[in-house]
C-alpha cells in the first residue's frame, strides 16, 4: 500500500494513540515524503489532527494521553521518546493552526518571536529574517510599511499568512498545517494555496483539509483516514482518479463523510 518511490523524512511505525481509555489512532504505518506536500483527508473525528499533533508532540499539552509505536525523524530521531526534547523538535517542525493565532504584538515581533526565544537578538539578522519570511509568506508588500503596528489590525487571511511567516522564520524543515484555510474566504484561500506550492521544494508540508479540491490542487501525496485508521495512502493523482479501495472512492466522491 505504501509507495516507496520517494525519499522519506519521517517514518511512522505501528502507532497507537489513546485519549485516556479511548483509542483514537490504530496501528498507523506510513512514510512522510521529503520536500513534498502530503494531504490528510477523512471525515470529521477520524483522528487527523490527533495524528498531526503527534509529529511535534503537541499532544503533550492535552494531558491524559498515551502513545505507543514510533515516529522516526531522519532515520534516527525518535520523536516520541520520552527523553526527546520537544523544544528542539518544534524548532524543526513548525505548525500552522486552523484558527490563526498571532501574538498581540507588532507584526515584526510576531515574525521574530521564534528567533528571539532561541536567543537571537542581532538586529541585522532579525531584520533580514523578517523581510525574507514575509516575502516567502507573500505578505511583505502588504505590511512592509507598518511592520511595527499591531498584528491584531490585520485581516483574517493576512493573519494566517503572518502565522506562516512566523513559522518559517525559524527555518523549520517540516510544516504541519491543520485546516489552515477553513476560516478564510476563497481569495485568501487561493493565496495560501499558492504559498504552499511555492514552499513545496524547500519544506516538507503536511496539510489537513476537508476540501477535496484543495487536497488535489496542492498535494503530491494523500492519506485517507477513517475511524482512527489509515485506510489508503498514495500519490494524489492516483488517490483521486483511481483509488484502490471502495471506501476511499466513496469518501472522495462525496458519498459519505
Amino acid at each position: 500500500m505504501n509507495p516507496t518511490d520517494f525519499e522519506s523524512v519521517i517514518s511512522v511505525k505501528e502507532l497507537d494513540f489513546f485519549y485516556g481509555q479511548s483509542q483514537a489512532l490504530f496501528d498507523i504505518n506510513m512514510e512522510v515524503p521529503k520536500h513534498q506536500v502530503t494531504a490528510f483527508i477523512g471525515p470529521s473525528g477520524c483522528g487527523k489532527s490527533t495524528f498531526l499533533r503527534c509529529f511535534n508532540r503537541m499532544n503533550d499539552l492535552v494531558g491524559d494521553v498515551s502513545i505507543t509505536g514510533s515516529l522516526i525523524l531522519d532515520d534516527y530521531i525518535d520523536i516520541n521518546h520520552k527523553d526527546q526534547d520537544p523544544i528542539q523538535l518544534r524548532r524543526r517542525i513548525g505548525m500552522i493552526f486552523q484558527k490563526s493565532n498571532p501574538f498581540p504584538k507588532s507584526i515584526y515581533e510576531n515574525v521574530v518571536y521564534g528567533l528571539r526565544i532561541a536567543g537571537q537578538g542581532k538586529k541585522s539578522v532579525l531584520n533580514e529574517v523578517v523581510e525574507t519570511s514575509l516575502k516567502k509568506a507573500a505578505l511583505w508588500d502588504e505590511v512592509k510599511d507598518r511592520l511595527h503596528t499591531s498584528a491584531m489590525g490585520l485581516s483574517g487571511g493576512q493573519m494566517q499568512r503572518l502565522c506562516i511567516a512566523r513559522a518559517i522564520a525559524v527555518n523549520p524543515e517540516i510544516l504541519l498545517m491543520d485546516e489552515p484555510c477553513s476560516a478564510l474566504d476563497p481569495k485568501s484561500t487561493a493565496r495560501i494555496e499558492e504559498l504552499i506550492l511555492d514552499l513545496r521544494g524547500d519544506y516538507t508540508i503536511i496539510i489537513v483539509t476537508h476540501n477535496m479540491q484543495q487536497a488535489s490542487r496542492v498535494s503530491d501525496y494523500t492519506a485517507f483516514f477513517f475511524e482512527g485508521k489509515l485506510i489508503e495512502f498514495g500519490e494524489t493523482g492516483q488517490i483521486f482518479t483511481k483509488p484502490s479501495l471502495k471506501q476511499t472512492e466513496d469518501y472522495i466522491t462525496g458519498r459519505f463523510g
Binding site: 523544544i87 518544534r90 505548525m95 493552526f97 484558527k99 498581540p104 518571536y113 525559524v170
Partner: protein, 535 residues
C-alpha cells in the same frame, strides 16, 4: 385596533423580561443614590471646612454678647423652638466651643468689620477683637493702631527663625546622642571598652545642655511679643504672638482674600504636622504613612500573589489538593481583618520581630526594636489580607488567555516559561492589574488590623526621613483611616473636630482614587496594546 396587528405581541412586560430589566435598573439606581449621597456629604463638608466664615455678633434681650460662626439654625427637638448654633471658640474662657441660642431671645445680629478670628496652637480658635500689641520694640505698654503689627513683625519673624534653627540643631544632636547611647549599650553588652565613647557623649551632652538653655532664653524673648485681645463680652486677655498660627478678619475679606486663606489652609493640610491632638493643623505624617503603608504592602502582596497564582494555574497538576487550596484561598478573603491583625501581632511582631531583636539588637533589650508594632509588620499583615484578592484575579486572568495563542508560542519551540513571560502574562496583565487595584483599595481602607500592628495617633518621626538608612520600616506610623477614628471618636472635643474628620475622609478617598486611577490608566494602556481583535 392595535391588537388586530399580528406583529404586536401582548405580554411583553413579562415574556421579554422587561420586569426584570426594571428591577435591575432600580437596583443600580439605589446603589448610585447611596454612593452619591455619601460622596456628596463627604465632599461638601470636606471642601467647606477651610472656607473663612463670617463672624456674627449676637446680642440677646438680656444684654449678653456672643461672637462666632453661625453653624446651623434648627428647631429644638423637644420644645420645637427655633435656635441657632454658634461656634464661639475661646475654649479657655468659655470651656465649650459651641453655644445654642434661642432665636426669640436674640435682639440683634451684626457683622462687625473689625471682628477677628485667630487660629492658635492651643485652645482652638479665638473670636474677638484686637486691642493692641506689646513688644520689646514698643515698650512695656500695649500700643494700638493699624501699623503696629507691621512694625514689630520683622523682628518677631527673626526671633522665630532663631528658635527654629535652635530646634533643628537640638534635634540633630539628639539623634547623635541616641546613636551614641546605642553604641555604649552594645559595647557594654559585648564587654568592650567604651570609655572613648563615653567621653564623646559627655562633650555632646554639654553642647546639648547649652542648646537647651539657649532655647529657653529664646522662648522668653518670644513671649515678650504679645497681642492684647478682647472677646464679645469685653473680657481681655493677652496671647503670645508665637501661639498665633493665622489671624484674619472674615467680615471684611473679599473673595480673593478668602480664596488665598483657603489655599493656605490646604497647603497646611498637606504639608504640616497636626496640632491640638490632631483636630487641627496638617495631615502630612498621616498621608506619608498611608501611602507608604499601601506601597510597602503592594511590594509584598503583588509578587507573592502573582507567583502563587501562576504556580496554581500553570504548573500544579489539577486535583483534589489544588482544589482544596483554591477554596482555602477564596475563603481567606472573608476572614475578618481584625483576625489578620491578631495574627500579624502574634506571628510577625512577637515571633519574627522578637527573634530579630534577639539576634541583631540584643543590647537594646528589653526595649524592642522590631519586636513591636511598626510599618513593616502592618504592611505584611495587610499583604496577607490582600493576597487572596491578587491570587484570585491573577488566576482568572491567566484562564482568560486563549489557549491557541499559548499553543502558537509552544509550537514555535518556546518553553513553558518563555511562553508565560512573553505571551501569557503580558496578555493577562490588564486583568491582573484590576486585581491589584482591588487589593490596594482594600488595603488603604483597612484600619482594624493596623491598630494592633503599629499605627499611633501621633508618631514622633516619619517612617521615611533624611537620616540613614532613610526608610525606617520598624517605626510606628500615622494613618488617615486611623486618624478619622481617632479625631472623630477619641478626641475631647468631637464637635470642633468634625471638619477635620470630613477633610481626612475626603483625603483618604482622594488617595485611594489617585492610586487606583493611576493603575487604571496603566491598565488601559496595556489593554490597548494586547487587545485581541475579534476574528
Amino acid at each position: 385596533m392595535l391588537n388586530s396587528n399580528p406583529g404586536i405581541v401582548k405580554g411583553r412586560f413579562w415574556r421579554e423580561g422587561e420586569a426584570f430589566i426594571w428591577l435591575s435598573s432600580i437596583g443600580v439606581g439605589m446603589i448610585l443614590l447611596i454612593i452619591g449621597t455619601l460622596l456628596f456629604v463627604i465632599v461638601k463638608n470636606g471642601f467647606v471646612a477651610f472656607w473663612p466664615h463670617s463672624l456674627a455678633l449676637v446680642e440677646t434681650n438680656s444684654g449678653e454678647y456672643y461672637l462666632g460662626e453661625i453653624k446651623q439654625t434648627t428647631l429644638h427637638p423637644h420644645t420645637g423652638e427655633e435656635r441657632i448654633q454658634l461656634k464661639v471658640g475661646n475654649r479657655e474662657l468659655y470651656s465649650l466651643d459651641f453655644k445654642w441660642i434661642q432665636s426669640k431671645t436674640i435682639s440683634r445680629i451684626t457683622y462687625p468689620k473689625e471682628a477677628v478670628a485667630i487660629e492658635r496652637t492651643e485652645y482652638g480658635n479665638f473670636y474677638g477683637f484686637i486691642q493692641g500689641y506689646q513688644s520689646p520694640l514698643t515698650g512695656a505698654e500695649p500700643v494700638q493702631g493699624p501699623n503696629v503689627l507691621e512694625r514689630i513683625e520683622p523682628s518677631f519673624t527673626e526671633e522665630v527663625q532663631v528658635l527654629a534653627r535652635l530646634n533643628e540643631e537640638i534635634k540633630s544632636v539628639a539623634v547623635e546622642m541616641e546613636s551614641l547611647r546605642r553604641k555604649i549599650l552594645k559595647a557594654q553588652y559585648e564587654g568592650e571598652n567604651h570609655a572613648a565613647i563615653e567621653a564623646e557623649q559627655r562633650v555632646l551632652r554639654e553642647h546639648f545642655d547649652l542648646l537647651l538653655e539657649a532655647q529657653g532664653k529664646q522662648h522668653t524673648v518670644l513671649s515678650q511679643y504679645q497681642v492684647l485681645l478682647r472677646d464679645a463680652e469685653g473680657t481681655t486677655k493677652t496671647l503670645p504672638l508665637s501661639h498665633v498660627v493665622r489671624q484674619y478678619q472674615p467680615n471684611q475679606m473679599g473673595l480673593f482674600a478668602k480664596l488665598s486663606h483657603y489655599l493656605a489652609h490646604l497647603w497646611e493640610l498637606f504639608f504640616d504636622e497636626p496640632r491640638e491632638s490632631n483636630t487641627e493643623g496638617g495631615l502630612f505624617p498621616a498621608i506619608i504613612g498611608t501611602v507608604m503603608l499601601v506601597l510597602t504592602m503592594s511590594l509584598f502582596s503583588f509578587p507573592m500573589g502573582v507567583v502563587a497564582a501562576v504556580y496554581m494555574k500553570e504548573y500544579a497538576s489539577p486535583g483534589f489538593l489544588l482544589q482544596t487550596i483554591r477554596i482555602a484561598v477564596n475563603n481567606l478573603a472573608g476572614i475578618p481583618s481584625i483576625v489578620w491583625g491578631i495574627f500579624g501581632l502574634s506571628f510577625f511582631i512577637y515571633t519574627i520581630g522578637s527573634g530579630i531583636d534577639q539576634i541583631f539588637y540584643p543590647e537594646q533589650l528589653p526595649t524592642p526594636t522590631f519586636g513591636t508594632g511598626g510599618i513593616l509588620w502592618a504592611s505584611l499583615t495587610l499583604a496577607l489580607l490582600t493576597v487572596p484578592v491578587v491570587i484570585v484575579a491573577t488566576e482568572e486572568a491567566l484562564g482568560g488567555v486563549p489557549s491557541d495563542v499559548r499553543h502558537g508560542s509552544l509550537a514555535l519551540g518556546a518553553t513553558k516559561f518563555q511562553t508565560l513571560m512573553k505571551v501569557t502574562l503580558p496578555m493577562a496583565s490588564p486583568r491582573i492589574i484590576t486585581g491589584f487595584i482591588l487589593a490596594m483599595s482594600r488595603a488603604a481602607g483597612e484600619v482594624a488590623p493596623l491598630m494592633i500592628t503599629g499605627v499611633v495617633k501621633l508618631a514622633p518621626a516619619l517612617p521615611i526621613d533624611g537620616t540613614f538608612p532613610f526608610i525606617h520600616l520598624e517605626r510606628k506610623f500615622m494613618h488617615l483611616g486611623f486618624h478619622i477614628y481617632d479625631v472623630g471618636f477619641q478626641s475631647p472635643n468631637v464637635e470642633a473636630a468634625k471638619p477635620m474628620v470630613f477633610v481626612t475622609t475626603l483625603l483618604l478617598l482622594s488617595i485611594v482614587i489617585l492610586l487606583s486611577s493611576t493603575s487604571i490608566i496603566l491598565r488601559n494602556k496595556i489593554r490597548k496594546r494586547y487587545q485581541a481583535k475579534a476574528f
